[in-house]
């Protein structure tokens, strides 16, 4: 997860070429390379394991479907991460308010409390969901994927300065949300 995507771009391109030559192993290798990371991006964006699974599967379908239209002048990682973020955003838009609320309240607890998620994860997850989706995407790519400002900008298609600005805004909100979470936990 923490490896720099730019470092693996050449390998990605090679795999893409082999996929275009109909090599099944190459497609599987791309899945192996990105499935886990995309799942984590989607999970942090959505706070729901099942939705995250759906997003990842949809992204891979789309990737293979559109592989011939992939422009190698652009980095593969930015292409596939952008799909994951956009699909996550679309999923959020589709959610009904009640469902979203329930998910938010049970963020990661459904996939967390029962199977080992820490209290810290729960608190961070709840704080994340308090962010606007666009700001959340920047935070997820920064803190969970360890992307640079430039890489985040490339994935989201926004200038570096906008990345910084969103990070600043998000962190201000996160500080408050985490503090409220601590107080809430202390009250209960």
């Amino acid at each position: 997860m923490k490896e720099t995507p730019l470092a693996t771009d050449e390998e990605d391109r090679a795999l893409v070429e082999r996929c275009l030559d109909d090599e099944r192993d190459a497609a599987a290798a791309l899945v192996d390379r990105y499935e886990q990371r995309l799942f984590n991006v989607a999970l942090r964006m959505l706070g729901n394991v099942q939705d995250a699974e759906d997003v990842v599967q949809t992204v891979f379908f789309n990737v293979f479907h559109k592989l011939r239209s992939y422009d190698p002048r652009f980095k593969f990682f930015s292409w596939i991460y952008r799909m994951a973020v956009n699909e996550s955003l679309n999923t959020l838009k589709r959610r009904k308010p009640m469902v979203a609320l329930e998910d938010d309240l049970g963020i990661l607890a459904s996939g967390g409390g029962a199977d080992g998620a820490t209290e810290a994860e729960d608190r961070v997850g709840k704080a994340l969901q308090s962010l606007k989706p666009d700001d959340r995407a920047v935070v997820v790519l920064k803190h969970f994927m360890s992307f640079s400002y430039e890489e985040i900008g490339e994935v989201l298609g926004i200038p570096v300065q906008t990345v910084k600005s969103r990070l600043f805004t998000a962190r201000e909100r996160l500080r408050v949300a985490l503090d409220e979470g601590v107080r809430s936990d202390a009250d209960s």
């Binding site: 099944r24 099942q50 939705d51």
Partner: protein, 360 residues
């Protein structure tokens, strides 16, 4: 009050984005400015909270699900990209709003099944008296009593309807025990009486899809008929996995479902999904409207509807050449556009059954 540049300097340090010179400048700032120190400490605390959250393992089934969706070498025609593209062309692009491609595909299949059922129901069996008949015949969803028919009922003036009944296959279909059993079944009548079903039947979207060439072509195809008679497909439809297609964990259930796994390996299933007709049906705005209706979801979850899908009589009807002929006929398409014609067809079908019984 920290300036914008100072805040940015601190943020960049936390993010590891400062140059050595910028880091040196920040150290100087922190030494002199308590507010900057406090802010930096806050950000480090925040960053530390994220750092304590580790990477979550994806569900073990996820990777396999993705890989399963890739073509097997023997089934591959034109390679991975072409194969995936082919499948996605069927539903993926066309159901952008859907949560998950395979789920959409099955929902699409189910929707087609709904329409097929509706195509049977549109005949309005049993006879509807007076002028209150509606497509689906809810108000008069009573058992068929052939002897109640009158001359007026069977003196059809509509040449299209008459043409239908001049077809031997259609005639045999409406006179068949299977047809009679289906129309007389409790499940059939229960479905007809549901609000959800009637909303679908009375919607413009339903009428449009019934009138479309793509739907006619699809429902008339051998592969679709074979699919509907596949044990795995029937099993799946009868299971909770099918009922719960619209729930969040549907994909997990489906992937673990043996019937679904078998279904994916069946040629008829793949063939249906690969037909232009199926793709066109999926792309049809009217079809998408039907799928988006709450009523459609209610029908999917309706016990009686599921009972019909599993009903032997119903399935035997779908398997007949007569049903294919009927559903492909221009006149039958016209039926879906008109309550009056539906009633005419129904009456003639009833009279034909009376005639058949009399001969026996």
């Amino acid at each position: 009050m920290l300036t914008r540049d100072q805040v940015e300097l601190i943020q960049q340090e936390i993010d590891g984005a400062n140059t050595p010179e910028a880091s040196a400048a920040l150290r100087s700032l922190l030494e002199q400015n308590p507010e900057a120190r406090a802010y930096a400490a806050e950000l480090r605390r925040l960053s530390g909270a994220f750092a304590r959250v580790g990477e979550r393992q994806s569900p073990p089934s996820l990777r396999q699900s993705i890989l399963n969706a890739l073509p097997q070498p023997a089934a591959s025609r034109g390679g991975i990209v072409a194969w995936v593209g082919q499948r996605l062309n069927l539903v993926g692009e066309l159901l952008e709003g859907a949560i998950m491609n395979k789920k959409s595909l099955l929902i699409g299949s189910a929707a087609v099944a709904v329409v097929i059922v509706a195509a049977g129901l549109i005949t309005g069996f049993p006879p509807i008296g007076g002028s209150s008949g509606t497509i689906g015949g809810v108000e008069k969803a009573t058992r068929y009593h052939g002897h109640e028919m009158t001359d007026a009922d069977i003196s059809l003036k509509n040449p299209e309807i008459q043409a239908l009944f001049q077809n031997d296959q259609v005639l045999r279909l409406v006179q068949s025990d299977a047809f009679h059993q289906l129309m007389a079944s409790d499940a059939f009548r229960t479905v007809m009486a549901t609000d959800a079903f009637n909303k679908i039947m009375q919607s413009d979207a339903f009428r449009q899809i019934m009138a479309s060439d793509a739907f006619r072509s699809l429902s008339a195809s051998d592969a679709f008929r074979q699919l509907n008679n596949t044990a795995a497909y029937r099993t799946l439809q009868a299971q909770d996995a099918f009922r719960n297609l619209n729930q969040a964990d549907a994909m997990r259930q489906l992937n673990q479902n043996a019937a679904y796994q078998q279904l994916q390996a069946i040629d008829a299933f793949r063939t249906v999904m690969a037909t232009d007709a199926f793709r066109q049906v999926m792309a049809n705005d009217a079809f998408r409207q039907i799928m988006a209706q709450d009523a459609f979801r209610q029908i999917l979850a309706n016990d009686a509807f599921r009972s019909i899908l599993a009903n032997d009589a119903f399935r035997s009807i779908l398997a007949t050449d007569a049903f294919r002929t009927l559903s492909a006929a221009e006149a039958f398409r016209t039926l879906s556009q008109s309550q009056a014609l539906s009633q005419d067809f129904m009456r003639e079908a009833a009279s034909q059954q009376v005639s058949a019984q009399a001969k026996n």
